[in-house]
Symmetry: C2
Subunit: 486 residues, 2 copies
């Protein structure tokens, strides 16, 4: 009877159960023993080639697939679960998070809305997140795949709210004047991508200079707005940064909020990781003004350590949120009762209709751990960054290249007599050696034209011994690789 076969369910559930428990044990061991492994290792050609198999009609079975995965994939992640990973800005994840992902995959629901727990859990999580960040609870919110998407959603709403016509319905060519947006030179590339995608043209994003602390120059911003107005353009929005990606700088958000109120501009805050500083009483003043933003975007897979990928966007003036996203479809009309009923329809608040139940892992993390654990981890990372910068400033072989605002330390190894170009080259080699020897994974950036080793600490597993290892590693490798000058 072929009609009752379920070729994608196991023939033998007992066998599946045994494999599943083995996988789970391996995954727990992967986290428990993480400190014993190198933080990163090159992805070998043999593993890469082993992946290059043709598509096959007949599968090799779950167990054999898992064995290939163990051999060729599992050892070769980028390393952000490790205590000595400080590259880009990546969260660490948590053991609780892996259970949440297991449950999410089992439920396998789509969280667009309807009469089911998922949209209610998301609504509750959004209220919690607003409370955590001191953002108005009356705001409209949405969980998205990450902050790039959150920025896109927020700027779509800003475009439609501020451009003086129905941009979504009629298109940008119907606008009388060209919209213009403003952000500092440190603004994240996802903002530029969003502005371009939304049809406003990347050139309409003005890059305003920064002060010595890498914060937007407010006077220069005012000047640019006035100039654009005089030229017949239409300033619509300012992007404030809460934690720039290069140095972790936080713009003066209170001053930006005042300016935007005065100039009747939309204030969007990109708080990818920095917004979470609001969780910590001692750090909250740094992001003061964020609560006055018209929209706010931030990630939960960075400094909140929720497994990838989940970010959040808030729109203060809730009714504006759905203007770029609303859609009617007869197959989606809610009924008065049944599975399709209920007050939520998150598809009206963002580009997605089918939506992974991202809220579950956030709910479980906040419910299980409470806010204090996360606040403590964040506060400790900031203290670690300051301590690291202090030790680097005291070291004869190091130069700190940017002020440390939050959790990002940019520095380089120095040796007298070397030119800036030689130092750039030397520090590239030091960084690569740090990674290849499995000592630590910082990443790189360029600060004032100088190549910088960038340590972005968003890691709840890092301890003092890990920074000892970093400093010892950089100094030893620097001495080993530096050219000898007579």
């Amino acid at each position: 009877m072929p009609d009752t076969r379920h070729p994608l369910d196991p023939d033998d559930w007992g066998e599946f159960r045994a494999l599943a428990h083995r996988v789970l044990d391996d995954m727990i061991a992967y986290l428990e023993d993480v400190r014993e492994r190198p933080v990163w290792q090159p992805f070998p050609d043999a593993a890469r080639q082993a992946l290059e198999v043709g598509l096959s009609e007949n599968g090799i079975g779950l167990e054999a697939a898992y064995e290939e995965l163990q051999r060729n994939i599992l050892p070769y992640a980028i390393g952000n679960v490790h205590p000595r990973f400080w590259g880009w800005v990546r969260g660490t994840g948590t053991p609780g998070g892996i259970l949440a992902e297991l449950i999410t995959g089992t439920l396998n629901t789509s969280a667009w809305g309807g009469q089911q727990a998922a949209p209610y859990v998301e609504a509750q999580v959004l209220r919690w997140l607003a409370t955590m960040l001191g953002y108005p609870e009356s705001a409209s919110g949405l969980l998205v795949s990450g902050c790039s998407m959150a920025n896109l959603v927020a700027l779509a709403v800003a475009r439609d709210a501020m451009s003086g016509a129905d941009a979504t319905e009629d298109g940008l060519r119907a606008l009388r004047r060209q919209p213009v947006l403003y952000g500092s030179t440190e603004t994240h590339s996802s903002i530029e991508k969003a502005v371009g995608l939304l049809g406003m043209g990347r050139r309409s994003l003005r890059r305003i200079g920064v002060d010595a602390d890498f914060r937007i120059d407010i006077a220069a911003l005012e000047h640019a707005i006035a100039n654009d107005r005089a030229a017949g353009l239409q300033p619509i929005a300012v992007i404030g940064n809460a934690g720039t990606v290069n140095t972790g700088a936080v713009d003066d958000l209170a001053a930006l909020a005042l300016l935007c109120q005065r100039e009747r501009l939309w204030l969007h805050v990109d708080g990818a990781f920095g917004a979470l500083a609001a969780l910590v009483p001692s750090l909250r003043p740094m992001v003061a003004g964020m609560e006055q933003a018209d929209s706010l975007a931030f990630d939960l897979h960075k400094w909140l350590h929720i497994p990838y990928g989940v970010g959040c966007v808030f729109i203060c003036d809730a009714p504006l949120h759905e203007r770029p996203f609303h859609a009617a479809a007869s197959y989606l009309e809610p009924l008065e009762r049944g599975a399709a009923a209920g007050p939520h329809d998150f598809s009206r608040l963002g580009p997605e209709l089918s939506r992974r139940f991202r809220a579950l892992k956030v709910w479980m993390a906040l419910r299980a751990h409470g806010t204090a654990s996360f606040a403590e981890a964040i506060e400790r990372n900031v203290a670690q960054a300051r301590a690291l910068a202090g030790r680097l400033r005291a070291a004869s072989w190091a130069q700190v290249l940017a002020p440390v605002s939050l959790n990002v330390v940019c520095f380089r190894y120095v040796q007298p007599g070397l030119t800036d170009r030689e130092l750039d080259q030397l520090n590239r080699r030091i960084l690569i050696a740090l990674q290849e020897r499995g000592i630590a994974v910082p990443s790189a950036t360029v600060i004032g034209g100088k190549f910088a080793i960038r340590v972005a600490i968003a890691n709840h597993r890092s301890g003092e011994e890990d920074f000892d290892a970093l400093l010892a590693g950089v100094e030893a490798i620097g001495k080993e690789l530096a050219p000898i000058r007579a």
Copy 2:
């Protein structure tokens, strides 16, 4: 020593391990016993209210959080893992998929690129998917959160490729002529949302009428294009549907490909679920022409049963893909070796920078099960839809409201003497009762002004007995609820 405490890792790994194995057993039982449970049940007020707790500084611990989840969340999903769920178009998921999600959450990597397995796995999965669908392997591809996002990416590329200026850089106001796009009246709402988001204006999406099989009327399309050209507008793209959401209709994609070649228009195929028909030799002719599309979007969490959320977009002319998405950032410059090296940078192909490692679950599913299992499940669903339609056509109490092309059956319960409005109301009540009694979850739509019960079969667990239960349920409830006419 506060510096070495890890507040988000367990104090006691043994305790965590015990909880984790209990969760895993529960999740496996959830799938193994799925048939014993109602397909859906209302989300009770008590569970909803239990979720409405304030944010707490101190967590209740993982175990207590899991108990709340078991009580208030787990029983109240929308039901698409159940054999009698045929609402909207939802995939079923697989037991193997839950292991893949567990592993993905443990690795917790960001799959943007770099020297790690993730981007290589994604590249391999993309090659497999192209092969499966008969799409050129030289195409550029990207995994995204779902087909709405895939449509957005494809239309962004189409906009930039076809609008005659650098729309991303200069904005839509720099275009000499208004771009116009075409799709049938059955085109999915995500297309309209994408066109609006991209700044082209939803009004520039022309809705072309359909034939009796709900396929786009090619003559009307040609006429609309000529009219728009004569009016000084700039036709840029046609959207072809491979499986419309209302009835599962497939446009004549080969005819659209010819037309687009002749008219020099971009052909985008929205194959959300229907594209997967290409996996089945007997169904492949239905989507012939799809392989000639300039871009192709489809979901993997629907008819391929990968856990939510993952879809895919292909752009045939690979160099065009990154035009709306490329971005330069000094903190992302690749180094010659180390963690940041490697040929892949998926952030240049879509709006996301941080990206969940979605490819892993696709890789594991295709490797473990092979293509034949999926093809078999798809082919069976189409056979089930045809058989169901046949039985409905033979039943005195039923009326099939649309031709069955693939896997969607739209019908209503009928009783002589009732007006269309009365039948609409009666069928709404039948549908709600089917759901509330836990018998089955079809969804609803409107066909030719008539309320339809819509059975969209993308379910590898459905067997003949499930359709028996549906038919018996509709007939019995219909007789129970229908007004008695003398």
